[in-house]
């Protein structure tokens, strides 16, 4: 480039046409790229339902209720003034335990892990108690179980008010 041209460029003010142009251009290209980035995130979720409405607290008898076990993998347990939602996934290797009402325990058929009604493990290879799911009340007074949030007893999380309903 000739000297003259270069000199002339240096003498331009900051908000010259050129700088405006480059700023606008960068912003526009940046905007387009960010749009592309946003596009890679879905707007709809095809994953299975992780939360569900579970009726009212007075619809559950004391003890273990299995009505949601097949559809959502949750035991509704009402005991000692609380209603909570136990996960039915054994903490040993992930099998599904069975509730034995005669012996008042959950017993996993795979390796014999045993849990009390409150979910605490007491026999077999299970290293920790069953997990509890977040359980809340909607404005209409219906129970809502949210399986995306999990509470573990060994971490002291069973005192978290979201892990039980007072009944």
């Amino acid at each position: 480039m000739s000297e003259d041209v270069r000199l002339q460029l240096n003498r331009r003010e900051f908000f010259s046409f050129l700088s405006v142009a480059w700023i606008a251009f960068t912003a526009a290209v940046g905007g387009l790229l960010s749009l592309a980035f946003r596009f890679s995130y879905p707007n709809v979720n095809f994953e299975p339902e992780m939360e569900f409405l579970a009726g009212r607290t007075d619809e559950y008898p004391p003890g273990v209720d299995e009505r949601w076990k097949n559809q959502f993998g949750v035991w509704m347990v009402k005991m000692e003034g609380r209603l909570f939602a136990l996960s039915n996934i054994c903490t040993h290797l992930g099998c599904i335990p069975t509730w034995l009402p005669a012996e008042i325990k959950f017993k996993c058929p795979c390796h014999g892990s045993g849990y009390y009604m409150n979910g605490v493990n007491f026999e077999g290879p299970a290293p920790r108690p069953l997990e509890r799911y977040k359980i809340t009340l909607t404005a209409e007074g219906k129970i809502k179980v949210d399986k995306t949030k999990v509470f573990r007893q060994e971490k002291g999380e069973w005192d978290n008010p979201d892990s039980y309903l007072t009944v």
Partner: protein
């Protein structure tokens, strides 16, 4: 170019920079525009409005909740809380002690957990060591390890034991703490109870806040994380869309705009925020069709996966008025090339048929049922094959012996214009329609009708009635008709009002009968219908000779003078020959056809034309005619009419009818010949579908039913699969419908049309409520072929139908299926009495004076209630029990009194006044006295 351009430069740089700046800013603006276009979606506006509505509603509920809180009590509670706090304050020391204990217990528990955990691990590891040593045969090492293992196990058990102790103690301490804080806890709980609903509502209201967090969550780029305004969808694997080379699970995103469709409480909102009507039937979580399983487009059609705006989903307006409304409000326009636009709202019911297959009647789908009933009434399935309708009988009477019933003149005039004889006639009219009223066509039609008559007469078998009319009393006959129950199937001239109430169409409207048949035929028909037509559903009413003659006398008095005067024009031979040449020259030249014709005698020609005409107009589709048993129905198949491409419907030159399936179908039903108007057609090509002179309502209902005949194949898992009981009931209903049982009997509140004409419902055919639980199946099976009077006060008679064994079984299982009962129930042949029970039973029987009504076999008084001696074979003992306990609960309005009102016995001295014991005793008594043989049996 006024500026100086540097050497080596084609343009002035500053100018170029200006251009660059301009273009870049233009690009930036465009990118902005892209953001906006992508981000500003109409459905988001809808959701924001929904949030506002929800917020308003919650506000309303909050106000109510606030109002419900007794302010005075609240104040009291708060005062109590203060006092409770004071009390607790005095217990501070004790509480501190307990808290300390809890703290130390915590430490112990934590410690023990560690110990226990370590021991657990040690035990497991040592167990493995021992077991693997044993497994590998290293007995020495195993023996070495065993004592260590046992030792560890003992320690582990001890640790667990200690843990149990600690936990028990902890529980105790916590209880102590609770007790110490009892007053506060209790008061707080009470306060919470009072405010719980309000608090929940406030929480709910917060979720509708459109605050800064709301804005951030929903702002353009950030909304990939966790937006509030988002697309909602329901994915159904069990219901699929047909994409021609693959079935794709349906995905419905309607709830993105129809936010409250499955929630109670929004019934008064305008769409799209309205709750779905009949929520407990459709869409509701407790309904048989919950939203998450069946979605929306299953019933409504439309493009469920499209979300953008109102037009995207392919909504369709119900009528022109709504179309204008939508055009103004939503700029609505129908989309192009849409595979499945939404059903118009009034046609939604038609889609029930997709999943509810194999049944004649779908509960809660009244419009659809009406449409299908009309299809049966007009006999569409006779000419048009519909899959699933094959079992239904031919709509018209058999012509196999017609020469023995009517005369040719009647036949020809009838075929020409049925309504000139009977304005209620279901037989449609083929002639003098919009497309064949030209004189030359009329001449040919007359020739055809003449030929048809000759042909049918030649094919008709000889028939002689087996009985003769000996004269009767017309007035008595008229009364009999009303009494005996003819009107369950027939409308009758002379009883116009009653006929209208019953609206029966299983049999023809009896008018002008005297001008149609002769008396001998009628008497024979009444005494034994199957003598004339073997497969008729008309039953015998076991009429005596006098009765049959009386009824005949009345019916023969019904004359249609104007019809009698009609003289049908004789056949024009030239016209006949012209038509025949047309037929014969189908594959031959005209000359060849004429030559062939010349070889035929007059009679042969007439027969040929008759034969061809029967085939042309499809008479055989509705009537049994000799020689036409194997012919396919004359009309196109309607099994998939609801999915037939619009391009396959011919709209003729008529531009007033919208190019939609439902519009075509309705127009077609109202006047099938309209499509020929303005089209130049030869005689042989004229449209042949006859005109049924339907009302618009009838045409609408049939259109709806046909729209349900779609080609969509719902996978088995998504369809309504009938369980064994439902199947039994569905199959049974087919038979009950065929013989029009439900025209007389109300089955659990369903149908029973004839009851409409009775003032006192107990005078009509008995209502069959929970019939399966009432009667014994073997009795019922026997009864259907051996009818005998059961209810002595009834004048109306249960007819004797000509049922095959299969049909009888089907009817028996019909009621079984409805009531979910097994075939046999305990029928004691030997009654075992408790001491004193039999006497008590007899005493009750006397005191309650059963024989005052149930007199048969006991006294000579005329009975006004069924014969108790027959009860054992006919009824199930469990039902007799229920009946005695509370007759009104089973049959509202029955004359049978209730002797145990409200469970209290009216005979306190018998069996200690125990209602249950008394009823048991009576039931046993009825079992004991009951006959073992069925009445009139060998």
């Amino acid at each position: 170019m006024s500026r100086k351009i540097e050497p080596g430069m084609a343009y002035d740089t500053s100018k170029l920079n200006k251009v660059f700046a301009f273009l870049s800013i233009l690009l930036l603006i465009t990118v902005f525009w892209v953001f906006l276009d992508d981000y500003l979606r109409p459905w988001k506006a809808v959701q924001i409005e929904a949030l506002k509505i929800k917020r308003e509603k919650i506000d309303g509920q909050l106000k109510a909740a606030e109002g419900a809180i007794d302010q005075q009590k609240m104040k009291d509670l708060e005062a109590r809380l203060e006092k409770a706090d004071e009390i607790i304050a005095t217990r501070k020391k004790d509480i501190a002690v307990v808290n300390d204990e809890i703290l130390s217990l915590n430490k112990l528990i934590k410690e023990e957990t560690i110990t226990s955990g370590q021991l657990n691990g040690d035990v497991a590891a040592t167990t493995f060591d021992f077991e693997s040593a044993s497994a590998h045969g290293d007995m020495k090492h195993a023996e070495q390890v065993l004592p260590k293992l046992h030792d560890l196990k003992i320690k582990f058990v001890a640790s667990k034991d200690r843990m149990k102790d600690y936990e028990a103690r902890m529980k105790k301490e916590q209880k102590k703490l609770e007790d110490l804080n009892k007053e506060v806890i209790e008061t707080e709980n009470e306060i919470k109870k009072m405010t719980m609903s309000r608090d929940l509502l406030q929480k709910a209201k917060k979720t509708t806040d459109m605050n800064a967090i709301f804005v951030i969550r929903n702002s353009p780029m950030v909304d990939y994380l966790d937006p509030t305004l988002k697309i909602h969808q329901v994915v159904m694997e069990n219901i699929t869309d047909d994409r021609y080379f693959q079935q794709v699970a349906k995905v419905d995103r309607c709830t993105t705009c129809h936010t409250f469709i499955d929630q109670k409480g929004y019934e008064d909102q305008a769409n799209p925020f309205k709750t779905h009507p009949k929520l407990d039937l459709m869409v509701g979580i407790d309904s048989p069709h919950p939203l998450k399983q069946y979605g929306c487009t299953t019933c409504h059609g439309g493009e469920g996966h499209r979300v953008n705006d109102f037009n995207a989903a392919e909504h369709r307006p119900q009528n022109e008025a709504q179309q204008k409304e939508w055009e103004a409000k939503y700029h609505w326009h129908p989309g192009h090339k849409v595979a499945l636009p939404m059903m118009k709202l009034q046609h939604t019911e038609s889609q029930c048929l997709k999943c509810h297959q194999g049944v004649e009647y779908i509960a809660q789908a009244p419009k659809l049922n009406e449409g299908r009933a009309n299809i049966e009434k007009f006999g569409c399935n006779g000419c048009h094959k519909i899959e699933g309708w094959e079992h239904r009988r031919k709509p018209g009477p058999s012509l196999l012996k017609v020469a023995g019933k009517i005369n040719k003149e009647f036949f020809k005039n009838w075929v020409w214009e049925p309504k000139s004889f009977n304005k209620h006639a279901k037989m449609p009219q083929f002639f003098m329609q919009s497309n064949n009223s030209k004189p030359e066509f009329v001449k040919k039609n007359i020739a055809e009708v003449n030929a048809i008559a000759e042909f049918i007469w030649s094919k008709s078998k000889d028939y002689q009635p087996f009985d003769r009319y000996r004269g009767g009393n017309a007035e008595r006959g008229k009364n009999l008709i009303k009494e005996v129950g003819c009107m369950g199937c027939h409308g009758v001239e002379g009883y116009e009002e009653e006929s209208k109430k019953v609206n029966a169409h299983a049999g023809p409207y009896l008018t002008g009968t005297g001008s149609k048949v002769d008396a001998d035929w009628l008497v024979s028909w009444l005494k034994k219908p199957s003598h004339y037509q073997e497969d008729t559903i008309m039953p015998s009413f076991r009429l005596s000779d006098t009765e049959a003659n009386d009824i005949t006398s009345y019916l023969m008095s019904l004359k249609n003078k104007s019809f009698e005067r009609l003289k049908f024009e004789p056949m024009n031979n030239e016209a006949r020959d012209e038509i025949l040449v047309d037929y014969l020259s189908a594959f031959d030249t005209e000359a060849g056809a004429k030559a062939k014709l010349a070889k035929m005698s007059d009679h042969e020609r007439t027969m040929e034309l008759g034969f061809r005409s029967v085939g042309k107009y499809g008479c055989y589709s509705c009537h049994n005619i000799d020689g036409f048993a194997d012919r396919a129905p004359i009309g196109p198949e309607l099994t998939k009419e609801g999915s037939k491409p619009i391009s396959q419907f011919f709209f003729g030159i008529d531009h007033t009818i919208p190019h939609e399936r439902d519009a075509w179908l309705k127009a077609h039903l109202v006047n099938p010949r309209r499509w020929d108007i303005g089209i130049d057609k030869l005689f042989k090509d004229l449209n042949r579908m006859p005109n049924f002179y339907m009302t618009e309502e009838e045409a609408d209902s049939i259109t709806l039913a046909l729209l349900g005949q779609v080609s969509e194949n719902i996978p088995m898992a998504g369809k309504k699969n009938l369980n064994q009981w439902e199947k039994m009931a569905a199959d049974g209903l087919k038979t009950a419908n065929k013989f029009n049982c439900i025209g007389c009997h109300k089955v659990d509140g369903f149908r029973g049309d004839i009851l409409n004409m009775y003032e006192d419902i107990n005078e009509g055919p008995p209502r069959l409520n929970d019939q399966g639980h009432r009667i014994q199946t073997d009795w019922f099976h026997y009864f259907l072929s051996n009818v005998y009077p059961i209810r002595p006060w009834l004048k109306v008679r249960m007819p004797s139908f000509n049922l095959s064994n299969e049909e009888k079984n089907s009817l028996v299982s019909y009621f079984q299926g409805i009531s979910h009962v097994q075939t046999f129930e305990d029928n004691q042949s030997e009654v075992v009495w408790e001491p004193g029970e039999r006497d008590a039973a007899k005493k009750l029987f006397n005191n309650l004076n059963c024989v005052s009504c149930h007199s048969t076999g006991f006294t000579n008084d005329p009975p006004s209630a069924p014969n108790l001696y027959q009860a054992k074979r006919r009824l199930r003992p469990a039902w007799i029990r229920k009946w005695l306990e509370n007759p009104q609960a089973i049959l509202e309005g029955t004359v049978m009194p209730s002797f145990w009102e409200g469970g209290e016995s009216s005979e306190p001295d018998i069996l200690g006044g125990d209602s249950q014991k008394q009823i048991s005793a009576l039931v046993k008594y009825i079992q004991e006295i009951g006959y073992d043989k069925l009445p009139n049996s060998k």
